[in-house]
C-alpha cells in the first residue's frame, strides 16, 4: 500500500487545460473519490497517476518517489476500467493470472491467489469461462478480481459501476465498500455519481473544469460546501439558491420578506449588497403562518418521502419532506432556519464563512 501525492499537476491538450495546478494528497489506505461532471478532468488525473497520460507539468509522487520517468507497466498500479477491458481471448482465470505471469510469480502462488480472490468475489464457478459468457455484474467482479490478485500499491477505479443497471449498481456499491474496508488499500475512485462518492469514500475531491473545488470527508462537503458549484453538485435534489440583499442590521431581505441570517457569520462587508442564499430541500420548514408565502406547484411522491416544488414569487423552491399533506395550488408558509442557511458571494460564488468573534457576535445579536 502507498500514498499518492499530486503537486501542481497540470495537463493541457493543445490549448485546453484538462487539469490545472492540482494539489492533492491521497493518504495511505485511503479511499479517495474524484467527483465531478463529465469533462472536469477527473479521468485525466487518474490516467496521469496510472502513467497512461503524461502530465504537461507538475509532479506525481507515489510513496514520496517521483514517478514521472517510470512507465505505466512498472508503477505497480492496478486499474479497473469503465468498460472492464477484460481480455476477450482469455478465460477468467487467465485474465486474472496475466499480470502475475508477466511478473514471473510461481505457478502455485498464482493459483492460490486467484482462488482466494475468486472466493472473496464469489466468482469461483466462473474461472473457466470467457468474458463474453458473463453478465455485466460478473464481468465487473472479474475486473475487480484481476486488480485484487496483483496486490498493487494503488487501486485506480474509473467509473467501474456506471455500466451496471441501477439495482446492481447499489448492490455492488456496498460490496465494493466492504471489499476495500477489508483490503485496507489505497484507492482512487473516479465517478460522476455523487451517491457513490458520498457512500464509499473516506474523502471526496470535487472537480469542475479541471480545477479542484474542495477536498473533504463526504459529510463535511455536504454540510460545509466551499462554493456554489460544490453546494449545487452534491445533494439530491440540489440546493435551492436565491438572491437576497443584506440589510443594515445584517439580516437578509428576500424580495419583501426579512429572513434571519446565521448568527455566527460576519456579514458587515456585504451590507447593502446582494448575496446568494442557499438552503437544502430537507432543511426548509413549513410554518402555520408567517415566513414566506408559497404556492404548491408540483408534488412528487418518492415513497418514503416527497418532493414539493413551491412557487415563491417567480422562483421555484424544492422541499423534501416525509409527512406533509398538501394539494396543488394550495398556499403554504415556509421558514428558513438560520442555522441551515448557506451564504455565497454573488461575484465569486465562494461560501461566506467569516465567523464573528464571540464579542462581536454578542454585539450583533
Amino acid at each position: 500500500m502507498a500514498e499518492v501525492e499530486l503537486r501542481k499537476l497540470t495537463k493541457k491538450f493543445r490549448d485546453v487545460s484538462a487539469v490545472s495546478e492540482l494539489n492533492l494528497h491521497i493518504h495511505d489506505q485511503e479511499f479517495m473519490s474524484l467527483l465531478g461532471p463529465s469533462g472536469c478532468g477527473k479521468t485525466t488525473t487518474l490516467n496521469m497517476i496510472a502513467g497512461l497520460e503524461t502530465p504537461t507539468s507538475g509532479q506525481i509522487l507515489i510513496d514520496n518517489r517521483p514517478v514521472a520517468h517510470i512507465p505505466a507497466s512498472q508503477r505497480d498500479i492496478a486499474m479497473v476500467f469503465q468498460n472492464y477491458a477484460l481480455y476477450p481471448h482469455m478465460t477468467v482465470y487467465r485474465n486474472m493470472a496475466f499480470a502475475l505471469k508477466i511478473r514471473k510469480v510461481p505457478k502455485d502462488t498464482i493459483d492460490s491467489q486467484i482462488r482466494q480472490a475468486a472466493q472473496v468475489l464469489n466468482i469461483e464457478p466462473l474461472l473457466d469461462r470467457y468474458p463474453r459468457q458473463l453478465s455485466g455484474g460478473q464481468r465487473q467482479r472479474v475486473a475487480l478480481g484481476r486488480a485484487i490478485v496483483r496486490d498493487p500499491k494503488v487501486f485506480l477505479l474509473d467509473e467501474p459501476l456506471s455500466n451496471l443497471d441501477a439495482v446492481l449498481r447499489v448492490q455492488m456499491r456496498a460490496e465494493l465498500k466492504l471489499l476495500f474496508n477489508r483490503l485496507h488499500a489505497t484507492a482512487v475512485y473516479v465517478t460522476h455519481d455523487q451517491s457513490e462518492a458520498m457512500t464509499m469514500s473516506d474523502r471526496v475531491a470535487i472537480f469542475s473544469n479541471g480545477t479542484l473545488q474542495q477536498v473533504d470527508t463526504p459529510m463535511n462537503i455536504y454540510r460545509a460546501p466551499a462554493n456554489m458549484f460544490v453546494a449545487s453538485f452534491v445533494g439530491s435534489p440540489p440546493m435551492n439558491f436565491m438572491t437576497a440583499i443584506v440589510t443594515e442590521d445584517c439580516q437578509l431581505m428576500l424580495d419583501e420578506t426579512a429572513i434571519r441570517a446565521p448568527s455566527d457569520i460576519d456579514l458587515r462587508a456585504y451590507i447593502g449588497k446582494p448575496i446568494t442564499v442557499g438552503i437544502r430541500p430537507e432543511d426548509v420548514r413549513f410554518a402555520a403562518s408567517g415566513g414566506l408565502s408559497a404556492v404548491v406547484a408540483v408534488i412528487e411522491h418518492l415513497g418514503a418521502s416527497q418532493l414539493i416544488y413551491l412557487r415563491v414569487n417567480e422562483r421555484l423552491i424544492v422541499v423534501q419532506t416525509d409527512n406533509a399533506q398538501f394539494t396543488v395550488d394550495e398556499t403554504v408558509f415556509i421558514d428558513f432556519p438560520p442555522s441551515s442557511l448557506y451564504l455565497f458571494d454573488e461575484d465569486t460564488g465562494r461560501a461566506v464563512r467569516t465567523l464573528l468573534t464571540p464579542s462581536l457576535a454578542g454585539v450583533q445579536s
Partner: protein
C-alpha cells in the same frame, strides 16, 4: 376461395411460394454465371484433343479423357517444380506481408503522430496501387536485373510483397484503430511492454483481420502473372506463367492449358475453405458484447 384452399394444402399462400421460387432461381442463376467459366474450363481439360477445333463448339465432350492431366504431369514437364515455385512465392510473400504489414499498421495506429502525417503515410502506402501494374513491371525488371535477381523466387517474392503490403497495412490499420484502447492500457498496467502487448493481446484479437489479409494476399500472389512473367520467365516460373506458355508460336495447347488451369485453383480453394472456418470462429472470439 381458391387462394384459401391453396393455403390449406401448403400452409402458405401461393404468392409466397412464387416469390421464394423466384429467389431460389435468382440464386441459381448467379451461381451459374459465376461458375460457368470454370465449368467450361474443366470440361475442356477432359475433352479429347480432336474436339477443340470443331464447328459448332463442343461443350460437353463425347468422351472424358485424362490425357491432358497425364501430359502436364509427365516427368519431362516441370509442372511440380513450377508448383513448388508458386507455393514458395505465395507462402513467403504472405508471411512477410502479414508480419511487416501488421507491425507497420500497429505503429501507425498507436504512434501519436499528427493526424495529417498518419494520413500522408497511409496515402503513400496506397500510392503504388493507384497506377496500372504494367507501369511498375519495367521498374521491377530493371531493379531485379541490376540486383542480379532475375529469374529467382526471391525476386518474385520481393515484387509481390511490394504489391500486397499496402493492402495489408490499410486493412490492419482500420482494425487496430477500432480496438478499444482500454485493452492495451490494461495490458500496460499489467506490466506488458510494447512487444508483449502486441503479441499477447493485440494479435490474438485481430486474428480474424489478419486471416482475411492473409487469404487476400495469398490469392493475389498465387494468381499474379504480369510481373512474375517478366522477372521470372524460366527457372523460377510460377504456375500462372506456365499456363501462358502453352500459347506457343505453333499454336495453343488447349487441353494441357485447361488441365493446368483447373489444377491451379485447387490449393487456393482448399486454403480458402480451411481459413473460412477459422475466420468465422475468430470473429466470434473477438467479439466483446456491450
Amino acid at each position: 376461395m381458391t387462394t384459401h384452399s391453396t393455403e390449406l394444402q401448403t400452409g402458405r399462400p401461393l404468392g409466397e411460394i412464387l416469390r421464394q421460387a423466384a429467389v431460389v432461381a435468382l440464386i441459381f442463376l448467379t451461381v451459374f454465371a459465376v461458375t460457368i467459366p470454370f465449368i467450361f474450363l474443366f470440361l475442356n481439360s477432359v475433352k479429347p484433343p480432336d474436339e477443340f477445333m470443331t464447328n459448332p463448339v463442343v461443350i460437353i465432350p463425347s468422351r472424358f479423357t485424362l490425357e491432358h492431366y497425364q501430359a502436364i504431369f509427365d516427368p519431362n514437364e516441370d509442372t511440380l517444380r513450377f508448383l513448388f515455385n508458386s507455393l514458395v512465392v505465395t507462402s513467403v510473400t504472405t508471411i512477410i506481408s502479414l508480419m511487416i504489414g501488421s507491425l507497420a499498421a500497429y505503429s501507425l495506429a498507436r504512434l501519436k503522430l499528427p493526424l495529417s502525417l498518419t494520413t500522408l503515410i497511409a496515402f503513400l502506402f496506397l500510392l503504388v496501387r493507384f497506377y496500372p501494374k504494367i507501369t511498375t513491371t519495367l521498374p521491377y525488371y530493371i531493379m531485379m536485373r541490376n540486383g542480379h535477381l532475375l529469374d529467382t523466387q526471391f525476386a518474385v517474392i520481393l515484387a509481390h510483397v511490394g504489391l500486397t503490403l499496402p493492402f495489408v497495412v490499410w486493412l490492419m490499420l482500420v482494425f487496430f484503430q477500432e480496438l478499444p484502447k482500454e485493452l492495451e492500457q490494461s495490458a500496460m498496467l499489467d506490466g506488458c511492454g510494447p512487444w508483449r502487448r502486441f503479441t499477447q493481446v493485440i494479435l490474438p484479437l485481430t486474428a480474424p483481420a489478419l486471416l482475411t489479409a492473409g487469404i487476400l494476399t495469398a490469392l493475389l500472389s498465387w494468381n499474379e502473372f504480369l510481373i512474375a512473367s517478366s522477372i521470372a520467365p524460366n527457372a523460377a516460373k510460377t504456375l500462372p506463367v506456365r499456363v501462358s506458355s502453352f500459347i506457343t508460336d505453333k499454336g495453343i495447347l488447349w487441353g494441357p492449358m485447361s488441365a493446368m488451369s483447373s489444377i491451379i485453383v485447387i490449393p487456393m480453394m482448399l486454403f480458402g475453405l480451411f481459413a473460412q472456418r477459422y475466420l468465422v470462429r475468430g470473429l466470434t472470439l473477438g467479439a466483446v458484447k456491450g
